[in-house]
Symmetry: none
Subunit: 216 residues, 4 copies
DNA sequence: GAATAAACGAGACGGTACGTCTAGTCTTGGA
DNA sequence: TCCAAGACTAGACGTACCGTCTCGTTTATTC
């Protein structure tokens, strides 16, 4: 999180409380004001901290918000719910619950929008938000294979492609449902979605069966 | 697009050329600068127009960018490619191609991010961008039913839910692939994605079959 | 007042009522808003006239305000009050009364300020405001000479200088009293002032007497 | 001059050089552009200072110009020239010389015009420009009394009234001569004016003599 | 137990963009 | 040809934040 590169040991150490206060203040400001009206000066004031302290640790609004939002997604877990379908439903619901919070909604999407022109920012998002989520997918698949619900992967490249696809579909669908359609990703929706996804995956990786309407 | 509500007929009429120039300048600025560094003053200059002319017609950056981006999505079409799978692949590829353009990328996502705190903006996005896309889904389904690839819908509420689900999955997946994973939604990916989606849908709406690992 | 130079007689004639309405609206706006916040658009609205009509007749704010204020000073008169002192007191009081009106106060001074960089404006002020006042001084002197209160002028250049001096002293003192000192130029003050002025003038034009403290 | 009221000692102190540069730039702009075309943005640029720095210290154009012009009038002095008449002539010439400078001309009059609707501004003008001048009048009178040219004042209220009258007459006449008549207040004019003023005053305060033409 | 060195709060600094306002011109349709 | 209405270009307004800087002060470590 911090910028300070060299191993510094002399001088007054940075206040750990400041970090916590700043990130909390950032989330508070996101809730009240949203991304576009959030200002670093205001965050500093809310955190009881000088603007310089803030700039000493984060390069700008984007980085700060990504870190503030990443803490929310750190709550994601994958308890064993007994079946692949239940595991997926569970984690999708968790993801949807986080995304329903106002501080995540506007903050995350705006950061993603900015990341289209800022590779460092995209990398930061990937490292602190996306990859941990993808790890859950991997963990879920491993568990399903252990249960015998899924066949063991043979081709690792193919396996990586499949994980990426699943991840884009899951995360994308929830995000789109929540932000664009502005409808809740509630239990019913998640069940329908999981059903389609799972059937599609098993049928796809299964007998390589005919697609309906594919005449050849 | 314009703000002027009442039917006014006196006074000098608004320049139609200005609208065109402003929207084109907005897209140009989006490409060069991205959302966050785009300024209305700069857009006005590029369009060869005074700032007041711009503010007379749009309430702010958000509205302007939505309109500018909406014109891009107006290009979407659904030519009959002979099968449901081909139709879906075709339209997803088109959607991905538009989303790959820099003016769409940062502009659209930022507008969506803002729309989480601005209902009017969300409505504008829905009306000018989302709903036309959803119409394509409806058209595609009607065509597939005519071909006999899909059974006719019986329950209209259920039908609407399905369309919404499809739409969130398709649009969400492409967006996530493009913006978050930052990988191209190319032909190969689209084929994999379409395969999963289509198999999932037909299996789901079909025999209401067993989900793998669903123990009850 | 109007700009139109050539003798035009074709087309729709200009509305005479518009002139009156515009000047009245200008004074009204001067009272309510003062010079600096007076805008030509607002004056046009008050007068129920289009901005173009206004610009067709006056070159700008300065010219308009000078004309509007000049009408106030047109009220100045010099009835014969029987003595030079009474005449002076009378006209000074009239002048002070006009200057006490808010539309005159801020409008006139601002126009004078502008005239320091605009010769045409100064000429306009001189012609429509200053010279008529100076004529009153001439008239008063002629009347006093007729009464025998003042000796007849012999040197016309000297006479002109004296009139100019008197005029600067009278007008300047009243203006300064009213605007800078912000005290009313009431009857008591006018009497004191007139006394000093008149004694000074008669002593000065008289025996060319010793100035007190002039040791040469 | 500054706005900041409480004695603050934390934070970066204000740059003293900025004040100097801003006031100098203001005078420069007054000379080149005059009051009405002077813009604070331009002054800031000339002073090599940000607009915010300017607004942090002055409330607006009026206040800034008053302070800039006040520095000019700070040059006024009253060296002992040996006689009351010489003292008056000297200080009037000085005053006229300042008023002849273009930065004083348009700036001062415009500020006075504005002050008719802004009491704080009038107070500022009085405190920083008018009162120091009035002090010169008091000093001159004290010196004349010491010389025996003037009788000692008995009634203090009457004395104050006289000083005010003198001041309005002197300042008003010079201003009117310079700005309205647009003639130089040169040595010859000043001598004539001083002669009239002084004769009037001595005659007035003296034997309370008959005004010419005052029949009773 | 200084001395050192960095972090801290406060707030001024040079900038940039904002969204509004006014100036003065131009373009309609109607009188 | 004038008029009312209102859109147009141009540019200043005063404000808000940005990210940097200079202060004086506070707190750990190191000598």
């Amino acid at each position: 999180m911090q910028i300070r590169t060299p191993a510094c040991r002399t001088g007054r150490p940075r206040s750990a409380a400041a970090d916590t206060a700043i990130l909390a203040a950032t989330r508070e400001a996101l809730v009240e004001l949203g991304w576009s009206k959030l200002t670093l000066g205001d965050v500093a004031t809310r955190a009881g901290v000088a603007k310089t302290t803030l700039y000493r640790r984060w390069a700008g609004k984007n980085e700060l918000v990504v870190d503030a939002v990443a803490e929310l997604f750190g709550e994601l877990e994958l308890p064993d719910r007994g079946s692949l379908a239940a595991d997926i439903e569970g984690v999708v619901l968790q993801f949807a619950a986080i995304l329903a919070r106002p501080e995540a909604k506007s903050g995350l999407m705006a950061a993603v929008a900015e990341s289209t022109r800022d590779d460092a920012l995209r990398e930061r998002i990937r490292a602190s938000i996306v990859d941990p989520q993808k790890d859950l997918v991997l963990e879920g698949r491993a568990r399903a294979q252990a249960r015998g619900e899924l066949p063991p992967q043979t081709d690792p490249a193919e396996a990586a492609r499949t994980v990426d696809l699943i991840f884009d579909v899951v995360a994308g669908a929830v995000v789109h449902r929540t932000l664009v359609s502005a409808e809740p990703a509630d239990e019913e929706w998640v069940r329908s979605f999981t059903r389609v996804l799972l059937l599609g995956l098993t049928a796809s990786t299964g007998p390589s069966g005919d697609l309906p309407g594919e005449h050849v």
